[in-house]
């Protein structure tokens, strides 16, 4: 159950592109044709599914405060978390290289379709972002970290596939000249992101009672929500406040009418 929840949460609610803007550079640059978009998307799923669990192990047994305790008691006081950026990016760069070599050796067909995208991926923010979010959200087990990696990858895949399909169609539309290409892609992505925000209620349930229960569950899953989420929550709260104000106004009006 936990796995399914995290899986769908990472695909839809915390979608890499629409909620956190990760991997935007390649998302914008490689989304002109559906076929190339599929290739890059598949490579991202592949690499995220490998690097997130690997970096989880690194984080758990090397980087966290006290993570070195398995070496002996005298090591328990070390806190190497400041090294996490360089460790994560080194893991990602070497893994990408390794995956490239292995795939080339054992599956030339897959290599031909993924090959040119793999080097691009080492510097794709979605990959490093996946690992960093995994760290900051304190995902508890290796299994969940793998699920999170695969889910985020699929979310990214979905996003680039959708925008590539739209961009293939929009070529036949009459877009204002200054907006052609990059400009309209930005605005469409913005609108798609607004659409994806509606998934926000997917796991919190319909009625308020259910929402509270689910929220506490989610909070125990991720002890430390990022501030981005908090911003979102406070903004939603504001909206709610204005909504209630509005409904009060309406109520007052109807009273006046009576």
């Amino acid at each position: 159950m936990e796995h399914i929840e995290l899986f769908f949460k990472s695909i839809f609610i915390d979608n890499m592109v629409f909620a956190t803007f990760l991997g935007m550079c390649s998302y914008l640059a490689v989304s002109k044709k559906v076929s190339t978009a599929v290739g890059l998307g598949a490579a991202v799923i592949f690499v995220l599914a490998i690097t997130v669990p690997l970096n989880w192990l690194l984080d758990q047994y090397l980087l966290q405060p006290g993570a070195l305790a398995w070496l002996g008691e005298s090591y328990a006081s070390y806190d190497l978390s400041f090294l996490s950026f360089i460790m994560f990016i080194a893991t990602i760069a070497t893994m990408v290289q390794l995956v490239e070599i292995v795939v080339e050796k054992f599956s030339p067909a897959l290599y031909n379709s993924l090959g040119i995208f793999l080097p691009l991926i080492a510097v794709n923010c979605a990959i490093l972002g996946g690992s960093l979010f995994m760290q900051s959200r304190e995902i508890p087990t290796l299994g969940l970290a793998t699920t999170y990696g695969i889910g985020s990858g699929i979310g990214w895949f979905l996003a680039i596939l959708a925008i590539a399909a739209i961009r293939e169609k929009i070529r036949y539309s009459n877009v204002p000249p200054a907006l052609r290409g990059l400009g309209i892609t930005f605005i469409i992505t913005g609108l798609m992101a607004i659409g994806f925000m509606s998934f926000g209620g997917m796991l919190t349930g319909g009625d308020d009672g259910g929402a509270k229960e689910e929220q506490t569950m989610v909070q125990s899953d991720f002890k430390q929500q990022t501030d981005l989420d908090q911003n979102l929550a406070s903004a939603i709260q504001e909206n709610k406040d204005t909504n209630t104000e509005d409904s009060q106004k309406i109520a007052n009006n109807t009273k006046g009418n009576e």
């Binding site: 935007m24 950026f85 080492a122 979102l232």
Partner: protein, 215 residues
């Protein structure tokens, strides 16, 4: 600028307008969008990138003749990661609240495409001083967009600038709130960043027809 020759000043001024990293080269968008809900965070992010890109360009340019081209990506990543760790530790020490707001996006400067893009395109082929100017120019071009987006999102979204209530107090109904103005909470949500950048691109390309793409 008497200090700089014409060619050098072009290195700094070009990325500010007609060769802007964000609106024209499509680099470094990831971090540009996520942290611009407050002007404060945008400015800090712009300064961090300025530091990393300026110094990183110099370092790579100094090492350009001794880096074997096969492993250059990983060398570049190590240089950036080191600089970013410095930025991250400084932020955590002197501006803890802000570093919380920026969360993972400080770390994501490592994979900011502007940085790798400039290393590849410029620092590997030019001397340290010119690379430094190029780095500063591009980081400034990035920073300008960040500050513009942050300005509008904070002003329209929460009615403040750098935390000061420039439009009056929404609760006590002073300033323009007295005549019924409301904050647009939607500006604080992430999708609006994309749309604001889209509009900036629109305005820029309307003013300079040479930049218009044909699909």
């Amino acid at each position: 600028m008497a200090l700089l020759s014409k060619k050098d000043s072009k290195l700094i001024l070009d990325p500010l307008t007609d060769n802007n990293p964000i609106t024209i080269q499509v680099l470094g968008i990831c971090s540009a969008l996520a942290i611009t809900a407050e002007l404060n965070a945008s400015i800090v992010m712009a300064i961090s990138v300025l530091f990393v890109l300026g110094l990183g360009n110099v370092v790579i340019s100094l090492m350009r003749n001794i880096i074997p081209s096969k492993i250059r990506i990983i060398v570049q990543l190590v240089v950036v990661a080191t600089l970013v760790i410095i930025v991250d530790q400084v932020l955590k020490a002197f501006a803890y609240e802000l570093s919380k707001t920026l969360s993972v996006f400080v770390g994501l400067i490592i994979t900011n495409c502007i940085i790798m893009g400039r290393f590849e395109a410029f620092a590997l082929g030019n001397g340290p001083w010119r690379s430094f100017l190029d780095g500063v120019g591009n980081a400034a071009g990035y920073g300008i967009i960040l500050v513009i987006v942050g300005f509008f999102r904070e002003l329209l979204g929460s009615g403040t600038l750098l935390g000061f209530k420039v439009l009056g107090d929404p609760i006590e109904k002073t300033g323009i709130y007295a005549i019924g103005y409301e904050n647009n909470g939607f500006m604080l949500l992430s999708p609006m960043a994309l749309i604001v950048v889209g509009i900036i691109i629109w305005v820029q390309r309307t003013r300079n027809k040479a930049l218009v793409e044909d699909h």
